[in-house]
Assembly symmetry: C2
Homo-oligomer: 234 residues x 2
Protein backbone atom coordinates (compact mmCIF):
# COMPACT_ATOMS: atom_id res chain seq x y z
CA UNK A 1 0.00 0.00 0.00
CA UNK A 2 2.88 2.30 0.76
CA UNK A 3 4.19 1.66 -2.70
CA UNK A 4 1.04 2.86 -4.36
CA UNK A 5 1.20 6.11 -2.55
CA UNK A 6 4.85 6.61 -3.34
CA UNK A 7 4.38 5.83 -7.02
CA UNK A 8 1.45 8.06 -7.67
CA UNK A 9 2.78 10.74 -5.33
CA UNK A 10 5.93 11.10 -7.35
CA UNK A 11 3.93 12.10 -10.40
CA UNK A 12 3.47 15.75 -11.18
CA UNK A 13 0.04 17.14 -11.85
CA UNK A 14 -0.73 19.60 -14.60
CA UNK A 15 -3.66 21.62 -15.84
CA UNK A 16 -5.61 19.89 -18.55
CA UNK A 17 -7.80 21.79 -20.94
CA UNK A 18 -10.06 20.83 -23.80
CA UNK A 19 -10.13 22.95 -26.94
CA UNK A 20 -12.99 22.41 -29.35
CA UNK A 21 -12.50 22.95 -33.06
CA UNK A 22 -16.05 23.49 -34.22
CA UNK A 23 -16.71 23.24 -37.94
CA UNK A 24 -19.88 24.15 -39.71
CA UNK A 25 -20.98 24.53 -43.32
CA UNK A 26 -22.93 27.52 -44.51
CA UNK A 27 -23.30 29.45 -47.74
CA UNK A 28 -21.16 26.87 -49.46
CA UNK A 29 -18.25 27.57 -47.18
CA UNK A 30 -16.61 25.57 -44.46
CA UNK A 31 -16.63 27.61 -41.27
CA UNK A 32 -14.99 27.63 -37.89
CA UNK A 33 -16.68 28.83 -34.73
CA UNK A 34 -14.41 31.20 -32.83
CA UNK A 35 -14.81 32.82 -29.43
CA UNK A 36 -13.58 36.02 -27.86
CA UNK A 37 -11.02 35.09 -25.26
CA UNK A 38 -11.83 36.80 -21.99
CA UNK A 39 -8.73 36.02 -19.96
CA UNK A 40 -5.15 37.09 -20.18
CA UNK A 41 -2.84 36.39 -21.87
CA UNK A 42 -4.22 37.47 -25.23
CA UNK A 43 -7.59 38.51 -23.82
CA UNK A 44 -9.81 39.83 -26.60
CA UNK A 45 -8.22 37.63 -29.22
CA UNK A 46 -10.12 35.01 -31.20
CA UNK A 47 -9.90 31.59 -29.71
CA UNK A 48 -11.21 28.09 -29.93
CA UNK A 49 -13.76 27.15 -27.33
CA UNK A 50 -11.78 25.87 -24.40
CA UNK A 51 -11.97 25.10 -20.73
CA UNK A 52 -10.40 22.91 -18.08
CA UNK A 53 -11.53 19.40 -17.38
CA UNK A 54 -13.08 18.40 -14.09
CA UNK A 55 -11.88 15.70 -11.78
CA UNK A 56 -14.86 13.42 -12.21
CA UNK A 57 -15.33 13.41 -15.96
CA UNK A 58 -13.55 11.72 -18.83
CA UNK A 59 -11.97 13.73 -21.62
CA UNK A 60 -14.86 12.94 -23.94
CA UNK A 61 -17.37 13.95 -21.31
CA UNK A 62 -15.48 17.16 -20.68
CA UNK A 63 -15.50 18.00 -24.38
CA UNK A 64 -19.24 17.42 -24.60
CA UNK A 65 -19.92 19.39 -21.42
CA UNK A 66 -17.86 22.36 -22.55
CA UNK A 67 -19.47 22.46 -25.95
CA UNK A 68 -22.96 22.21 -24.50
CA UNK A 69 -22.49 24.63 -21.67
CA UNK A 70 -21.01 27.36 -23.78
CA UNK A 71 -23.05 27.02 -26.92
CA UNK A 72 -26.13 25.00 -26.06
CA UNK A 73 -25.09 22.55 -28.77
CA UNK A 74 -25.91 18.98 -27.92
CA UNK A 75 -25.73 15.65 -29.64
CA UNK A 76 -22.88 16.68 -31.84
CA UNK A 77 -20.29 14.60 -33.64
CA UNK A 78 -17.06 14.96 -31.69
CA UNK A 79 -13.74 13.22 -31.92
CA UNK A 80 -10.53 13.60 -30.03
CA UNK A 81 -7.74 14.97 -32.15
CA UNK A 82 -4.47 15.43 -30.35
CA UNK A 83 -2.83 16.15 -27.02
CA UNK A 84 -0.87 19.37 -27.27
CA UNK A 85 1.86 19.37 -24.68
CA UNK A 86 4.54 21.89 -25.50
CA UNK A 87 5.79 23.35 -22.23
CA UNK A 88 5.33 26.98 -23.24
CA UNK A 89 2.28 26.71 -25.47
CA UNK A 90 0.30 28.83 -23.03
CA UNK A 91 2.24 31.69 -21.43
CA UNK A 92 -0.31 31.86 -18.61
CA UNK A 93 0.57 28.49 -17.16
CA UNK A 94 1.61 25.07 -18.23
CA UNK A 95 -1.50 23.58 -19.73
CA UNK A 96 -1.84 20.32 -21.61
CA UNK A 97 -4.65 20.81 -24.07
CA UNK A 98 -6.56 18.01 -25.69
CA UNK A 99 -8.12 19.18 -28.93
CA UNK A 100 -11.43 17.83 -30.16
CA UNK A 101 -13.12 18.51 -33.39
CA UNK A 102 -16.84 18.89 -33.63
CA UNK A 103 -18.96 18.95 -36.77
CA UNK A 104 -22.24 20.75 -36.54
CA UNK A 105 -25.07 21.57 -38.77
CA UNK A 106 -25.34 25.32 -38.69
CA UNK A 107 -28.97 25.65 -39.79
CA UNK A 108 -30.29 23.64 -36.90
CA UNK A 109 -28.79 25.79 -34.27
CA UNK A 110 -29.64 28.82 -32.34
CA UNK A 111 -27.55 31.59 -33.80
CA UNK A 112 -28.57 33.90 -31.03
CA UNK A 113 -27.23 31.63 -28.34
CA UNK A 114 -23.92 31.41 -30.12
CA UNK A 115 -23.70 35.17 -30.41
CA UNK A 116 -24.56 35.64 -26.75
CA UNK A 117 -21.30 33.93 -25.97
CA UNK A 118 -19.29 36.25 -28.15
CA UNK A 119 -18.87 33.58 -30.76
CA UNK A 120 -18.66 34.04 -34.50
CA UNK A 121 -18.43 31.87 -37.56
CA UNK A 122 -15.42 32.50 -39.78
CA UNK A 123 -14.84 31.01 -43.17
CA UNK A 124 -11.79 28.77 -42.97
CA UNK A 125 -10.33 30.54 -45.96
CA UNK A 126 -10.45 33.78 -44.03
CA UNK A 127 -9.69 33.07 -40.40
CA UNK A 128 -8.66 35.80 -37.98
CA UNK A 129 -5.45 35.48 -36.04
CA UNK A 130 -6.05 32.92 -33.32
CA UNK A 131 -4.58 32.95 -29.82
CA UNK A 132 -1.85 30.66 -28.53
CA UNK A 133 -1.31 27.61 -30.72
CA UNK A 134 -4.91 27.44 -31.84
CA UNK A 135 -4.12 28.01 -35.50
CA UNK A 136 -1.96 24.92 -35.59
CA UNK A 137 -4.73 22.94 -33.94
CA UNK A 138 -7.09 24.07 -36.67
CA UNK A 139 -4.59 23.23 -39.40
CA UNK A 140 -4.25 19.74 -38.05
CA UNK A 141 -8.01 19.34 -37.72
CA UNK A 142 -8.49 20.34 -41.34
CA UNK A 143 -5.94 17.80 -42.43
CA UNK A 144 -7.73 15.07 -40.50
CA UNK A 145 -11.14 16.23 -41.67
CA UNK A 146 -10.07 15.91 -45.29
CA UNK A 147 -8.58 12.51 -44.70
CA UNK A 148 -11.61 11.17 -42.90
CA UNK A 149 -14.35 12.64 -45.03
CA UNK A 150 -13.24 10.52 -47.93
CA UNK A 151 -13.50 7.26 -46.04
CA UNK A 152 -16.04 7.91 -43.34
CA UNK A 153 -19.42 9.54 -43.71
CA UNK A 154 -18.58 12.33 -41.29
CA UNK A 155 -19.38 15.00 -43.84
CA UNK A 156 -23.08 14.39 -43.29
CA UNK A 157 -22.74 15.74 -39.76
CA UNK A 158 -22.30 19.16 -41.31
CA UNK A 159 -25.59 19.02 -43.17
CA UNK A 160 -29.20 18.93 -42.04
CA UNK A 161 -30.90 15.56 -42.13
CA UNK A 162 -32.30 16.20 -45.58
CA UNK A 163 -29.94 17.63 -48.15
CA UNK A 164 -29.54 17.73 -51.90
CA UNK A 165 -26.71 16.25 -53.93
CA UNK A 166 -25.57 19.63 -55.24
CA UNK A 167 -25.28 20.78 -51.66
CA UNK A 168 -23.39 17.67 -50.60
CA UNK A 169 -21.02 18.16 -53.49
CA UNK A 170 -20.56 21.77 -52.56
CA UNK A 171 -19.59 20.65 -49.05
CA UNK A 172 -16.95 18.33 -50.41
CA UNK A 173 -15.71 21.08 -52.67
CA UNK A 174 -15.42 23.37 -49.66
CA UNK A 175 -13.54 20.77 -47.65
CA UNK A 176 -11.11 19.89 -50.41
CA UNK A 177 -10.95 23.36 -51.89
CA UNK A 178 -11.36 22.08 -55.41
CA UNK A 179 -14.00 21.56 -58.04
CA UNK A 180 -15.40 18.09 -58.40
CA UNK A 181 -16.97 16.70 -61.56
CA UNK A 182 -20.64 16.36 -60.70
CA UNK A 183 -21.22 13.21 -62.76
CA UNK A 184 -18.36 11.39 -61.12
CA UNK A 185 -19.27 12.63 -57.69
CA UNK A 186 -22.86 11.48 -58.01
CA UNK A 187 -21.89 8.11 -59.37
CA UNK A 188 -19.46 7.57 -56.55
CA UNK A 189 -21.72 8.67 -53.73
CA UNK A 190 -24.80 6.90 -55.05
CA UNK A 191 -22.89 3.70 -55.76
CA UNK A 192 -21.92 3.62 -52.10
CA UNK A 193 -25.55 2.88 -51.41
CA UNK A 194 -25.79 4.89 -48.22
CA UNK A 195 -28.11 7.61 -49.48
CA UNK A 196 -31.85 7.42 -49.58
CA UNK A 197 -33.61 9.48 -52.22
CA UNK A 198 -36.72 11.25 -50.97
CA UNK A 199 -39.77 12.27 -52.93
CA UNK A 200 -39.46 15.84 -51.82
CA UNK A 201 -37.57 18.53 -53.63
CA UNK A 202 -35.64 21.50 -52.40
CA UNK A 203 -37.04 24.54 -54.20
CA UNK A 204 -35.08 27.49 -52.94
CA UNK A 205 -31.85 27.29 -54.81
CA UNK A 206 -33.18 26.56 -58.29
CA UNK A 207 -36.30 26.62 -60.36
CA UNK A 208 -36.18 23.01 -61.28
CA UNK A 209 -35.55 21.95 -57.71
CA UNK A 210 -33.23 19.24 -56.48
CA UNK A 211 -34.28 16.03 -54.79
CA UNK A 212 -33.61 15.68 -51.13
CA UNK A 213 -31.55 12.74 -49.92
CA UNK A 214 -31.02 11.32 -46.50
CA UNK A 215 -27.96 9.53 -45.12
CA UNK A 216 -28.89 6.00 -44.12
CA UNK A 217 -26.91 5.20 -41.02
CA UNK A 218 -28.23 1.66 -40.68
CA UNK A 219 -27.20 0.69 -44.17
CA UNK A 220 -23.81 2.22 -43.61
CA UNK A 221 -23.28 0.26 -40.43
CA UNK A 222 -24.34 -2.99 -42.05
CA UNK A 223 -21.98 -2.36 -44.91
CA UNK A 224 -19.01 -1.55 -42.71
CA UNK A 225 -19.63 -4.60 -40.59
CA UNK A 226 -19.31 -6.63 -43.75
CA UNK A 227 -15.91 -5.16 -44.47
CA UNK A 228 -17.09 -2.53 -46.89
CA UNK A 229 -15.01 0.61 -47.08
CA UNK A 230 -16.48 3.90 -48.18
CA UNK A 231 -14.42 5.79 -50.75
CA UNK A 232 -15.84 8.96 -52.16
CA UNK A 233 -14.33 10.40 -55.32
CA UNK A 234 -13.07 13.91 -54.73
Amino acid sequence: MKRIIQYYAEGIKELIAIDCIIFGFDQNELKLLCFKRIVEPEAGGWSLLGSFIQHDESLDQAAKRILFKLTGLDNVYMRQLYAHGEVDRDPGARVISISYFALINIQDRDHQLIEDYGAKWFSISNLPKLVLDHQSMVDYALKILKKEAKYKPIGFELLPEKFTLPRLQSLYEAMYQKNIDNRNFRKSILKAGILEKLEEKERHSSKRGAYFYRFNKETYQELTENGYYLDIVV
Copy 2:
Protein backbone atom coordinates in the same frame (compact mmCIF):
# COMPACT_ATOMS: atom_id res chain seq x y z
CA MET B 1 -3.45 40.18 -13.71
CA LYS B 2 -5.91 39.04 -11.12
CA ARG B 3 -7.95 37.51 -13.88
CA ILE B 4 -5.08 35.34 -15.04
CA ILE B 5 -4.64 33.93 -11.62
CA GLN B 6 -8.32 33.30 -11.16
CA TYR B 7 -8.68 31.61 -14.50
CA TYR B 8 -5.78 29.26 -14.23
CA ALA B 9 -6.38 28.71 -10.52
CA GLU B 10 -9.86 27.39 -11.18
CA GLY B 11 -8.46 24.58 -13.29
CA ILE B 12 -7.89 21.21 -11.73
CA LYS B 13 -4.58 19.46 -12.10
CA GLU B 14 -4.25 15.79 -12.85
CA LEU B 15 -1.50 13.22 -13.16
CA ILE B 16 -0.31 12.77 -16.70
CA ALA B 17 1.46 9.63 -17.80
CA ILE B 18 2.98 8.45 -21.03
CA ASP B 19 2.53 4.85 -22.13
CA CYS B 20 4.77 3.57 -24.90
CA ILE B 21 3.54 0.91 -27.27
CA ILE B 22 6.79 -0.49 -28.58
CA PHE B 23 6.63 -2.63 -31.70
CA GLY B 24 9.42 -4.70 -33.15
CA PHE B 25 9.74 -7.27 -35.90
CA ASP B 26 11.61 -10.51 -35.36
CA GLN B 27 11.41 -14.04 -36.69
CA ASN B 28 8.78 -12.91 -39.14
CA GLU B 29 6.49 -11.83 -36.35
CA LEU B 30 5.31 -8.47 -35.18
CA LYS B 31 6.17 -8.11 -31.50
CA LEU B 32 5.28 -5.91 -28.58
CA LEU B 33 7.70 -5.04 -25.80
CA CYS B 34 6.06 -5.58 -22.42
CA PHE B 35 7.28 -4.76 -18.94
CA LYS B 36 6.64 -6.21 -15.49
CA ARG B 37 4.65 -3.70 -13.56
CA ILE B 38 6.23 -3.09 -10.18
CA VAL B 39 3.59 -1.01 -8.45
CA GLU B 40 0.13 -1.71 -7.20
CA PRO B 41 -2.51 -2.03 -8.43
CA GLU B 42 -1.80 -5.04 -10.62
CA ALA B 43 1.87 -5.24 -9.62
CA GLY B 44 3.52 -8.16 -11.37
CA GLY B 45 1.26 -7.92 -14.41
CA TRP B 46 2.51 -7.23 -17.91
CA SER B 47 2.35 -3.62 -18.84
CA LEU B 48 3.34 -1.11 -21.44
CA LEU B 49 6.30 1.06 -20.60
CA GLY B 50 4.90 4.01 -18.75
CA SER B 51 5.81 6.86 -16.49
CA PHE B 52 4.68 10.32 -15.48
CA ILE B 53 5.68 13.42 -17.35
CA GLN B 54 7.80 16.12 -15.80
CA HIS B 55 6.92 19.76 -15.47
CA ASP B 56 9.56 21.05 -17.83
CA GLU B 57 9.22 18.70 -20.77
CA SER B 58 6.76 18.40 -23.63
CA LEU B 59 4.78 15.22 -24.16
CA ASP B 60 7.05 14.21 -27.03
CA GLN B 61 10.12 14.84 -24.95
CA ALA B 62 8.65 12.84 -22.09
CA ALA B 63 7.95 9.91 -24.37
CA LYS B 64 11.51 9.95 -25.70
CA ARG B 65 12.97 10.30 -22.23
CA ILE B 66 10.95 7.44 -20.81
CA LEU B 67 11.82 5.14 -23.67
CA PHE B 68 15.50 5.97 -23.48
CA LYS B 69 15.83 5.86 -19.73
CA LEU B 70 14.14 2.53 -19.33
CA THR B 71 15.46 0.70 -22.36
CA GLY B 72 18.48 2.60 -23.61
CA LEU B 73 16.70 2.93 -26.94
CA ASP B 74 17.41 6.19 -28.67
CA ASN B 75 16.61 7.75 -32.01
CA VAL B 76 13.46 5.80 -32.42
CA TYR B 77 10.40 6.52 -34.53
CA MET B 78 7.69 7.67 -32.14
CA ARG B 79 4.30 9.15 -32.68
CA GLN B 80 1.58 10.24 -30.33
CA LEU B 81 -1.50 8.08 -30.50
CA TYR B 82 -4.25 9.07 -28.14
CA ALA B 83 -5.09 10.69 -24.81
CA HIS B 84 -6.81 8.15 -22.61
CA GLY B 85 -8.92 9.94 -20.07
CA GLU B 86 -11.54 7.66 -18.57
CA VAL B 87 -11.95 8.62 -14.93
CA ASP B 88 -11.45 5.14 -13.55
CA ARG B 89 -8.97 3.75 -16.05
CA ASP B 90 -6.37 3.43 -13.31
CA PRO B 91 -7.72 2.33 -9.92
CA GLY B 92 -4.61 3.72 -8.23
CA ALA B 93 -5.41 7.32 -9.02
CA ARG B 94 -6.90 9.45 -11.72
CA VAL B 95 -4.29 9.45 -14.43
CA ILE B 96 -4.60 10.82 -17.94
CA SER B 97 -2.36 8.71 -20.10
CA ILE B 98 -1.04 9.76 -23.46
CA SER B 99 -0.10 6.73 -25.52
CA TYR B 100 2.75 6.79 -27.99
CA PHE B 101 3.76 4.16 -30.39
CA ALA B 102 7.37 3.41 -31.13
CA LEU B 103 8.75 1.28 -33.93
CA ILE B 104 12.12 -0.23 -33.35
CA ASN B 105 14.48 -2.47 -35.15
CA ILE B 106 15.03 -5.37 -32.81
CA GLN B 107 18.36 -6.55 -34.23
CA ASP B 108 20.09 -3.28 -33.55
CA ARG B 109 19.33 -3.27 -29.92
CA ASP B 110 20.81 -4.52 -26.73
CA HIS B 111 18.67 -7.43 -25.71
CA GLN B 112 20.45 -7.62 -22.40
CA LEU B 113 19.54 -4.09 -21.48
CA ILE B 114 15.91 -4.77 -22.26
CA GLU B 115 15.90 -7.88 -20.13
CA ASP B 116 17.56 -6.06 -17.24
CA TYR B 117 14.43 -4.00 -17.01
CA GLY B 118 12.16 -7.00 -16.78
CA ALA B 119 11.01 -6.49 -20.33
CA LYS B 120 10.05 -9.14 -22.81
CA TRP B 121 9.01 -9.31 -26.44
CA PHE B 122 5.66 -10.94 -27.10
CA SER B 123 4.27 -11.81 -30.46
CA ILE B 124 1.17 -9.70 -31.06
CA SER B 125 -0.76 -12.82 -31.93
CA ASN B 126 0.01 -14.18 -28.49
CA LEU B 127 0.00 -11.34 -26.00
CA PRO B 128 -0.30 -11.92 -22.27
CA LYS B 129 -3.05 -10.22 -20.31
CA LEU B 130 -2.07 -6.59 -19.95
CA VAL B 131 -2.76 -4.35 -16.97
CA LEU B 132 -5.32 -1.55 -16.82
CA ASP B 133 -6.54 -0.47 -20.26
CA HIS B 134 -3.26 -1.28 -21.98
CA GLN B 135 -4.77 -3.93 -24.22
CA SER B 136 -7.14 -1.41 -25.73
CA MET B 137 -4.22 0.95 -26.28
CA VAL B 138 -2.42 -1.79 -28.17
CA ASP B 139 -5.49 -2.63 -30.23
CA TYR B 140 -5.79 0.96 -31.28
CA ALA B 141 -2.10 1.20 -32.07
CA LEU B 142 -2.32 -1.85 -34.30
CA LYS B 143 -5.21 -0.34 -36.16
CA ILE B 144 -3.26 2.86 -36.75
CA LEU B 145 -0.10 0.97 -37.66
CA LYS B 146 -1.95 -0.92 -40.38
CA LYS B 147 -3.51 2.23 -41.70
CA GLU B 148 -0.27 4.15 -41.81
CA ALA B 149 2.05 1.47 -43.10
CA LYS B 150 0.19 1.44 -46.40
CA TYR B 151 0.61 5.14 -47.00
CA LYS B 152 3.72 6.11 -45.10
CA PRO B 153 7.04 4.32 -45.10
CA ILE B 154 6.94 3.71 -41.38
CA GLY B 155 7.37 -0.02 -41.83
CA PHE B 156 11.04 0.53 -42.57
CA GLU B 157 11.57 1.65 -38.99
CA LEU B 158 11.05 -1.94 -37.96
CA LEU B 159 13.85 -3.23 -40.16
CA PRO B 160 17.61 -2.74 -40.13
CA GLU B 161 19.00 -0.29 -42.62
CA LYS B 162 19.67 -3.01 -45.16
CA PHE B 163 16.92 -5.53 -45.73
CA THR B 164 15.74 -7.89 -48.43
CA LEU B 165 12.46 -7.77 -50.28
CA PRO B 166 11.30 -11.13 -48.95
CA ARG B 167 11.86 -9.81 -45.47
CA LEU B 168 10.01 -6.57 -46.17
CA GLN B 169 7.13 -8.57 -47.55
CA SER B 170 7.14 -10.77 -44.52
CA LEU B 171 6.88 -7.67 -42.33
CA TYR B 172 3.84 -6.49 -44.24
CA GLU B 173 2.36 -9.95 -43.99
CA ALA B 174 2.89 -9.86 -40.23
CA MET B 175 1.29 -6.44 -39.91
CA TYR B 176 -1.73 -7.26 -42.00
CA GLN B 177 -1.96 -10.89 -40.95
CA LYS B 178 -2.38 -12.08 -44.50
CA ASN B 179 -0.42 -13.49 -47.38
CA ILE B 180 0.61 -11.10 -50.09
CA ASP B 181 1.36 -12.07 -53.68
CA ASN B 182 5.10 -11.57 -54.03
CA ARG B 183 4.97 -10.41 -57.66
CA ASN B 184 2.41 -7.75 -56.95
CA PHE B 185 4.12 -6.67 -53.77
CA ARG B 186 7.48 -6.26 -55.50
CA LYS B 187 5.99 -4.38 -58.39
CA SER B 188 4.19 -2.02 -56.06
CA ILE B 189 7.07 -1.33 -53.72
CA LEU B 190 9.66 -0.99 -56.48
CA LYS B 191 7.41 1.21 -58.58
CA ALA B 192 7.24 3.61 -55.64
CA GLY B 193 10.89 4.36 -56.35
CA ILE B 194 11.92 4.74 -52.75
CA LEU B 195 14.12 1.65 -52.51
CA GLU B 196 17.74 1.45 -53.50
CA LYS B 197 19.03 -1.92 -54.61
CA LEU B 198 22.46 -2.77 -53.22
CA GLU B 199 25.12 -5.01 -54.72
CA GLU B 200 25.30 -7.12 -51.64
CA LYS B 201 23.25 -10.21 -50.96
CA GLU B 202 21.85 -11.62 -47.77
CA ARG B 203 23.06 -15.22 -47.56
CA HIS B 204 21.62 -16.60 -44.38
CA SER B 205 18.05 -17.33 -45.21
CA SER B 206 18.54 -19.02 -48.57
CA LYS B 207 21.15 -20.62 -50.79
CA ARG B 208 20.55 -18.34 -53.66
CA GLY B 209 20.64 -15.24 -51.50
CA ALA B 210 18.46 -12.16 -51.76
CA TYR B 211 19.63 -8.71 -52.67
CA PHE B 212 19.72 -6.10 -49.96
CA TYR B 213 17.76 -2.92 -50.41
CA ARG B 214 17.85 0.34 -48.59
CA PHE B 215 15.05 2.83 -48.00
CA ASN B 216 15.91 6.14 -49.62
CA LYS B 217 14.58 8.83 -47.32
CA GLU B 218 15.70 11.70 -49.53
CA THR B 219 13.88 10.40 -52.57
CA TYR B 220 10.80 9.81 -50.48
CA GLN B 221 10.83 13.34 -49.17
CA GLU B 222 11.28 14.82 -52.62
CA LEU B 223 8.40 12.75 -53.90
CA THR B 224 6.04 13.68 -51.09
CA GLU B 225 6.89 17.34 -51.50
CA ASN B 226 5.73 17.02 -55.08
CA GLY B 227 2.39 15.68 -53.98
CA TYR B 228 3.19 12.03 -54.45
CA TYR B 229 1.37 9.59 -52.21
CA LEU B 230 2.80 6.22 -51.32
CA ASP B 231 0.39 3.33 -51.68
CA ILE B 232 1.69 -0.15 -51.10
CA VAL B 233 -0.36 -3.10 -52.29
CA VAL B 234 -1.21 -5.37 -49.41
